[in-house]
């Protein structure tokens, strides 16, 4: 198991290097140098210390050096937790990102749990009642969730929640709880607001998970051992739960890798619509103002989250299913 863990972590290194390269390219992509923009803006405001300020920044990030050196400086800064300066907020990027990233993790985590809770019974029902009306109806429902653009669903749900339950519009909690210490009221308020993004983001991922669980379970149910178990008089419920279901459960864990990027993508756009204090709106704003250090760091963090998520799912899978652990170890 430790060998497998070490092997998996070793594999992460080239992936992370690749991710940082792509992110760096994206930071460099926009035409026009943000320093020249900054000088122009600064001089327009009639400040005298422009030149020094710029010189300091140029020095710190090596902006006058060749591109590959800039990359190395950026990466080594990143490793030390220094993600650069957000030119828009005039604050270190880490400060801007911190809180919102933490909220993003909460939203993404709850969404995945929601997806599981919904997908599990539906998947099992669809597989055991193949081609029944229930199966067709639920499949159609899943497809509808897949096909409806998240942002519009979010907008409509927000409106309905406001009309039906009087939930305040936008944000992750009622306005009076913002920046307040944790209380029971704040917690309830967050729960009241959290369900909309969770349901909306969850709809797109649920369909895929249902279909995979259904397909896996159907494959498993046709196997000889299930027939034997039934022939020997095991009750249908036991013949379903004891082995086939356990085998078919793998996608739930394995799918975190697929689900997580999808959920984070969904979270970005949905949170823009719902104006949640998560990464979405800040990322959008950063991109619109070409605040590229901030945008790049966001991208990097989101990708890093995904890599960690996949690692965790792989490890869980290895714990649950010895075949993976053994095959992974034998190959290398």
């Amino acid at each position: 198991m430790i060998g497998y863990l070490a092997h998996r972590i070793m594999l992460m290194v080239p992936t992370l290097i690749g991710i940082s390269l792509i992110t760096f390219i994206i930071i460099q992509l926009p035409p026009g140098d943000f320093l020249s923009t900054m000088i122009a803006e600064c001089e327009a405001q009639g400040e005298s210390s422009c030149k020094e300020q710029v010189a300091v920044l140029t020095e710190e990030f090596g902006l006058d050096k060749p591109v590959w050196q800039q990359y190395l400086i950026w990466v080594s800064d990143l490793l030390q937790g220094n993600m650069g300066i957000s030119f828009e907020y005039n604050k270190p990027v880490a400060e801007v990102i911190g809180e919102s990233l933490y909220l993003t993790i909460i939203v993404a985590g709850s969404t995945i749990i929601f997806t599981w809770i919904v997908a599990f019974p539906i998947g099992v029902y669809s597989a055991t009642h193949q081609y029944s009306w229930g199966d067709h109806g639920l499949t159609l429902l899943g497809f509808l969730g897949l096909a409806t653009p998240n942002f519009l669903l979010a907008l409509v749900m927000l409106f309905l929640a406001n009309v039906w339950f009087g939930t305040s519009i936008g944000g992750l909690m009622d306005p009076q709880y913002v920046d307040q210490p944790w209380t029971w009221g704040k917690f309830v308020s967050i729960l009241e607001h959290l369900w909309i993004p969770v349901v909306v983001i969850g709809t797109s991922g649920t369909a895929g998970l249902i279909r995979r669980l259904r397909a896996n379970l159907l494959d498993e149910l046709q196997k000889q051992y299930v027939v034997t178990a039934r022939a020997k008089g095991l009750s249908p419920g036991k013949a379903l739960v004891k082995y086939p279901l356990r085998m078919a459960l793998n996608p739930f864990i394995a799918d975190i890798g697929n689900l997580l990027p999808q959920v984070i993508s969904g979270a970005v756009i949905v949170s823009v619509v719902l104006s949640l204090p998560t990464t979405g709106p800040i990322l959008l704003r950063a991109l619109q103002t070409q605040d590229m250090f901030l945008a790049g760091s966001f991208l990097m963090c989101l990708a890093f989250l995904t890599v960690i998520g996949v690692l965790i799912s792989d490890l869980l899978l290895a714990v649950l299913d010895p075949r993976i652990r053994l095959a992974g170890g034998a190959g290398h």
């Binding site: 994206i26 096909a147 653009p149 519009l152 409509v156 959008l284 790049g296």
Partner: protein, 391 residues
């Protein structure tokens, strides 16, 4: 014991069949069987696909939708940009055929307009006096067919001096139905061009990785893993935000399709790779190599045909994500920009909660998005089932 030998004493007439005796009679196939066994692979797939009713109807629907983008100008009652400044945010008009209890040709009631002085809401009410018969196969708004031929022929137009807003109007008084019909042109082709790019990349990279194996395989696998760890939307957002602002809308359009295609090939590449890995061990592949065929010929002439159908099916299944991607980007204002009109650009107008409350018809462009995405999914499912007709 009773006698079991047959009674030969009776005078049974001897019967001989006149027909010539055919020793292979058992093996002869019925015409239906013969047709089945002799049919080639593609015919078999078609037969199997035909049984999947939902997929067939989705296919028909998609052909019709794609057909409509050829003649959007003629189908739409108004021009893409024609503004009716007297009718801002007008609600959909209903087509009626009964006027004062009598059956008449299809018509709509005209609008009475007043501004609610308290809420400043525009209130339109149907005026039962004004009957505006809809004209069919008529001359209406001028347009340039595909930007080249001038014309003014429409299949459906409003009455002279009347209006026909079947799906309402937007904030500039532009007809939503016409704009949705024109928007199909952009939204649907984004998916097609995007998938063409991702198909090309997927086949080439997946092919290289599956056929050669070794370090090429590891490199491509790593690349796929890196790309897959980026959440798609933020990556697309970052890239489309970095398209130069000086680009003309049409260049932005191509830029966006390329961005969408550039990161979608990973699934296809994995499918190609796994198929190739399995197939290159087959005898016919070894035979081709032994006879001196170059890798390119082995891949494209011998191996590819055995799974082209799978590729088509998975490509069909990934078009929806591109259409949704474009819609999301344009909705956020990072994708296409007016005057280019796609469904996402139209939905950009429906960005705040007021729209849902006051002008819900501005959200209608989402309906074609959902229908097209569903249709592609069902079609793809049918194709995937049909792709392996020997099962």
């Amino acid at each position: 014991m009773t006698d079991t030998t047959p009674n030969t004493s009776g005078n049974i007439p001897r019967y001989v069949n006149e027909e010539p005796w055919d020793a292979n009679a058992v093996e002869v196939l019925t015409p239906a069987q013969e047709k089945f066994y002799l049919a080639n692979q593609w015919t078999l797939m078609w037969w199997k696909f035909r049984r999947h009713k939902l997929a067939v109807w989705s296919g028909v629907l998609l052909i019709m939708t794609f057909g409509s983008i050829l003649i959007s100008e003629i189908l739409a009652p108004y021009n893409l940009h024609s503004r009716n400044t007297d009718f801002l945010y007008a609600p959909p008009q209903m087509v009626r055929i009964f006027h004062e209890g009598e059956l008449v040709r299809p018509f709509v009631y005209g609008f009475d307009y007043r501004l609610d002085m308290e809420t400043l809401e525009r209130v339109y009410t149907a005026n039962k006096e004004q009957v505006q018969p809809i004209r069919f196969f008529c001359l209406g708004d001028d347009y340039e067919f595909w930007g080249m031929i001038e014309g003014s022929f429409h299949i459906i137009c409003p009455a002279e001096d009347g209006t026909l807003f079947l799906l309402g109007t937007d904030r500039l008084g532009r007809d939503m139905l016409s704009r949705i019909l024109y928007g199909a042109r952009i939204s649907l082709t984004v998916g097609l061009i995007g998938i063409a790019i991702s198909f090309l990349l997927g086949v080439i990279l997946g092919g290289l990785s599956g056929y050669y194996g070794g370090w090429i395989d590891s490199a491509v696998q790593r690349l796929i893993e890196i790309i897959r760890s980026f959440p798609e939307l933020p990556l697309w957002m970052a890239l489309s935000a970095s398209l130069p602002v000086t680009w003309s809308p049409i260049w932005v359009y191509f830029g966006i399709t390329i961005i969408l295609g550039l990161f979608d090939w990973t699934g296809l590449a994995r499918a190609v790779r796994s198929k190739l890995l399995a197939l290159r061990e087959e005898d016919f592949a070894t035979a081709a190599v032994l006879m001196g065929a170059k890798p390119k010929r082995v891949i494209f002439r011998h191996l590819m045909p055995s799974f082209t159908s799978h590729l088509i099916a998975s490509a069909t299944l990934s078009i929806p994500s591109m259409i949704l991607g474009e819609t999301a980007l344009s909705f956020l204002g990072l994708g296409l920009r007016p005057p280019i009109t796609s469904w996402g650009v139209l939905l950009n107008e429906a960005q705040n909660i007021n729209v849902v409350a006051l002008y819900p018809w501005l959200m209608l462009p989402v309906v074609p998005v959902i229908i097209v995405v569903l249709a592609f999914n069902f079609l793809g499912d049918g194709l995937r089932d049909a792709a392996d007709p020997y099962k």
